[in-house]
Amino acid sequence: MSIVSDIVVPARAPYSATLKKGQVMRIVDLESQQAVDALFYNAHDPSERYSVQDTLAAQAAQEKKFYLETGSVLLSNEGNALVSIIADTCGFHDSCAGACSCESNTVRFGHETRFMHACRENFLMELSKYGLGKRDLVSNVNFFMNVPIRPDGELTVDDGVSEPGGYVELRAEMDVLVLISNCPQVNNPCNGFRPTPIRIIVSEG
């Protein structure tokens, strides 16, 4: 399996790459409990993009869960497969809670958090490199982020369960643009209150 790229994304930083169909991206949680927020687009027409509701409706029809794990297929707003999760040491990846933003932080954690760094700052900067903007910042995946939805409807961000060196592998099912924010959040447990670097390895499938 030949390596296309192998880089370390610093704590709190963005990253993006275009995967050709069949290529595999491995995201490694180097130090554990690090949420990795990700957006996915059809590389040739980014108005086709990841849709959590299409993905979960399909999972529900197959008696699958409200979270993502090995075997999950991430669908677009046209119902097409963008990427598949082909390996995973964690077993739980959220897609319901969205990405943190400066604005939502003020609501969730208090106005005093307004000028702290957030995933949507990373995403907007990275989107701008592709001529995309806030209208394109839609539903995302939070790899390694533990967000239970309890039977009474409670939704919380709980302590992460990923181990040091834990990883998830995504196989591109079409040519796909992947945007990543190595989550800078310290106001909830998604990063163990201590953001850390991740490693991203892209290889030929």
């Binding site: 509701q53 409706a57 039977p151 409670e154």
Partner: protein, 265 residues
């Protein structure tokens, strides 16, 4: 709490201090969720200026002014109605399903809860509700479920198109009148169609563009609408003790962000 970032030195707390802040917020959210406020509307809607019926499978686009109130009546108990909202003054601000459930610590949307935009502001409040359940996790159906019938995704897209927008502008939506729960193993459960006459009332907290479609939930076994949706739109500004504006501390902060946009000299 009105500490500014500098005095709190928020980028340099210890993990234990951040955790203590988070757990205090969580405890208050749990206390609120344990005391729900489900209630149906009390009386006639004030200052009604529009009524409309949406036949099975169809949709409408609506322009609401701040503090307009819309009652949505599910006359025959059809299995859902798809809803999406934009700020009419800047359509790049739109309904955000993730923020709506995360900021309120719950997927249960009913009286007292609010619908958040992507900008930490409130688009609409749920001011009354008969309690049929409203789902923003799985949401409205689409072509994959509808087997050729008119469906929520396409109808929301059509409504967006008539406001000059495209598929870029329609994100995860709400399926009104759709109760979905999860079990301890992580599976989904769709509770079945709502009772006839189910109603939900929303108050616009900004000037809004609204797309509303009479089409089922994605998990409904019946994938075609089985009856009309009736809407009434009136106007009723919130009073000083308004439930939604004080129901949670998160809503209070969301309304502080919202009302700041409507300050006048």
């Amino acid at each position: 709490m009105s500490l500014d970032a500098e005095s709190l030195n928020l980028d340099r707390l210890t993990p234990e201090q951040y955790r203590a802040r988070y757990e205090a917020l969580q405890a208050r959210a749990r206390a609120r969720a344990a005391a729900p406020a489900v209630q149906a509307a009390a009386g006639a809607l004030p200052r009604v200026w529009k009524t409309e019926t949406i036949p099975s499978g169809n949709y409408v686009g609506l322009k609401l002014k701040r503090f307009d109130v819309i009652r949505i009546h599910n006359l025959e108990g059809t299995a859902g109605a798809a809803l999406f909202l934009w700020n009419a003054d800047d359509v790049s601000e739109r309904y955000n399903a993730g923020d709506t459930v995360k900021l309120q610590w719950t997927t249960v949307l009913t009286t007292g809860r609010v619908l958040f935009s992507d900008m930490g502001r409130v688009l609409a409040s749920i001011t009354a509700d008969t309690g049929a359940g409203h789902d923003s996790i799985v949401g409205p159906n689409g072509p994959a479920q509808a087997n050729g019938a008119r469906n929520g995704r396409d109808n929301l897209r059509l409504a967006a198109a008539k406001f000059g927008m495209t598929r870029r502008d329609v994100g995860p939506a709400i399926s009104l009148f759709s109760k979905v729960t999860t079990d301890a193993q992580g599976g989904f459960h769709y509770a079945g169609p709502p009772p006839k006459g189910a109603m939900v009332e929303l108050r616009a907290e900004q000037n809004l563009l609204v797309a509303l479609s009479n089409t089922p939930h994605a998990l409904s076994p019946v994938q075609e609408s089985t009856g009309a949706i009736r809407i009434e739109i009136g106007h009723n500004a919130p009073g000083p003790h308004d439930l939604c504006r004080h129901f949670t501390e998160e809503a209070v902060r969301g309304f502080e962000n919202t009302d700041r946009e409507f300050l006048t000299p």
